[in-house]
């Protein structure tokens, strides 16, 4: 198979096994961030590579393979969601609420499970950009390409999504502190 550069300038083989080895972990984490369900995340990841196996030869610019894979996974996720719910329309204007102040106690109590639960409560339109932001695999440009939206929109959604996530985490900690836990 041909060797060519990817978006980061590193060489990457387009051999199926090499692509799987290189990207399956980060794709799974992105899928899990979107679905918060291991089985659904596995299905999305497998489906992405299945689509690559059948349609990857159509990719003309091999340096875009990473973006192609993440975009495909995101599209598959959206398609699965469309079967059950319509996407609400969000107006992008000024942020309404005050930017949250983060407490040290919240920081100390963070764990992956709690963060995923909080992410599940973030507005749907912010979830994917926020997940890609925190996964650290992608630049802002790559995130824009993956989500097929302009750079300005990406940054706006990430900023609002982060603000929501922090607010949810602070609120969850306050609730547990007041009511106790089983």
């Amino acid at each position: 198979m041909s060797l060519t550069g990817d978006d980061s300038g590193q060489s990457v083989s387009l051999d199926f096994e090499s692509l799987v080895a290189r990207y399956y972990s980060s794709l799974y984490k992105f899928a899990y961030s979107l679905t918060q369900a291991e089985a659904d995340a596995c299905d999305l990841t497998q489906q992405t590579f299945y689509v690559w196996a059948t349609k990857g030869h159509q990719l003309r610019d091999a340096t875009k393979v990473k973006t192609w894979l993440f975009t495909t996974l995101h599209r598959e996720f959206l398609e699965s969601r469309r079967r059950y719910a319509r996407f609400p329309h969000y107006e992008l204007g000024q942020m309404d609420a005050e930017l949250p102040t983060v407490s040290a106690a919240t920081v100390n109590q963070l764990d992956s499970a709690g963060v995923m639960q909080a992410l599940a409560q973030v507005d749907e339109v912010y979830k994917a950009p926020v997940a890609l932001f925190y996964l650290r695999d992608c630049s802002y440009k790559e995130i824009a390409d993956i989500l097929e939206i302009p750079m300005g929109t990406v940054k706006s959604r990430i900023a609002r999504g982060i603000a929501q996530l922090h607010t949810i985490l602070n609120g969850a900690r306050s609730t547990r502190h007041k009511e106790g836990h089983d």
Partner: protein, 254 residues
């Protein structure tokens, strides 16, 4: 640039990736000079660091890579098989027999209890485990939740396990079958909400070659000691973060 504008900008700041990005320079300078903004930014960075770490710790199922590769091979094999069928129409009876044997043996390989045990043990440890559907120490509430949400009903726990504190439960699918996971905290550590015992319950018919009835089979799977048994129409797999003796104490009857 106002303080609020700086905060909105700094929400997007990633310390390693963006440290040389001039887009953040003005906001960072403002944060250095404004004590209130600096305090907010320091706390924000601490939160961001913890969040980045949380995402890093998302556990990837160990068998996922092999699953992807094997399904790719199966897809390629299926395409070749269809072409072979066209070419050897005269040998249909033999071809059907070969197809039956391949599918049958492949089904057994995929759905046997050994695979189930490997997959379930691969999902859990005290450091990482699936997000719970319900978090509670009350085993009665767990039982009720599972019964109401399509999980296992009428399961029977060993007496020693009935006296152990729960931490939560989850229902998930495995090969199209429902699996109920009940989590416990043995009391060995100082964090009562952290499970170190994981009980997987599945219909006996969901796995090939289930473990023996009423006699626990002990196996070590990586860092976990596992005990498995069948009781009635249910198969149980108990995985514990410890050795065989640790798990055995929870199998004791009244």
């Amino acid at each position: 640039m106002t303080s609020r504008e700086a905060k909105e900008m700094l929400l997007l700041y990633r310390p390693e990736a963006d440290k040389d990005d001039t887009e953040f320079a003005e906001a960072l300078q403002l944060a250095r000079n404004d004590p209130d903004l600096k305090q907010w930014f320091d706390q924000h960075c601490a939160m961001q660091k913890a969040l980045f770490s949380s995402f890093d710790r998302i556990a990837v199922p160990e068998a996922l890579k092999e699953q992807i590769l094997s399904e790719r091979k199966a897809h390629v094999g299926a395409s070749a098989g269809r072409k072979a069928t066209i070419l050897v129409l005269a040998a249909i009876p033999i071809l059907l027999l070969i197809t039956f044997l391949v599918v049958y043996s492949d089904t057994r390989r995929v759905a046997d209890f050994t695979t189930f045990r490997q997959m379930m043990a691969g999902k859990v440890s005290p450091e990482r485990y699936p997000v719970m559907d319900l978090e509670t120490s009350d085993l009665g509430k767990i039982r009720q939740y599972l019964a109401e949400k399509g999980g296992q009903k009428d399961y029977v726990l060993p007496a020693a396990l009935e006296k152990t504190s729960g931490t939560g439960c989850k229902i998930f699918a495995w090969r199209g079958k429902k699996v109920s996971m009940v989590c416990f905290n043995s009391g060995r550590n100082s964090t009562p909400k952290t499970p170190d015992l994981f009980l997987f319950i599945v219909d006996r018919s969901a796995v090939q070659e289930p473990p023996a009835k009423n006699a626990a089979n002990i196996e070590q799977v990586r860092q976990l000691a596992t005990a498995s048994w069948t009781d009635g129409q249910k198969t149980y797999l108990l995985a514990g973060a410890g050795d065989e003796n640790f798990v055995r104490q929870f199998l004791k009857g009244p």
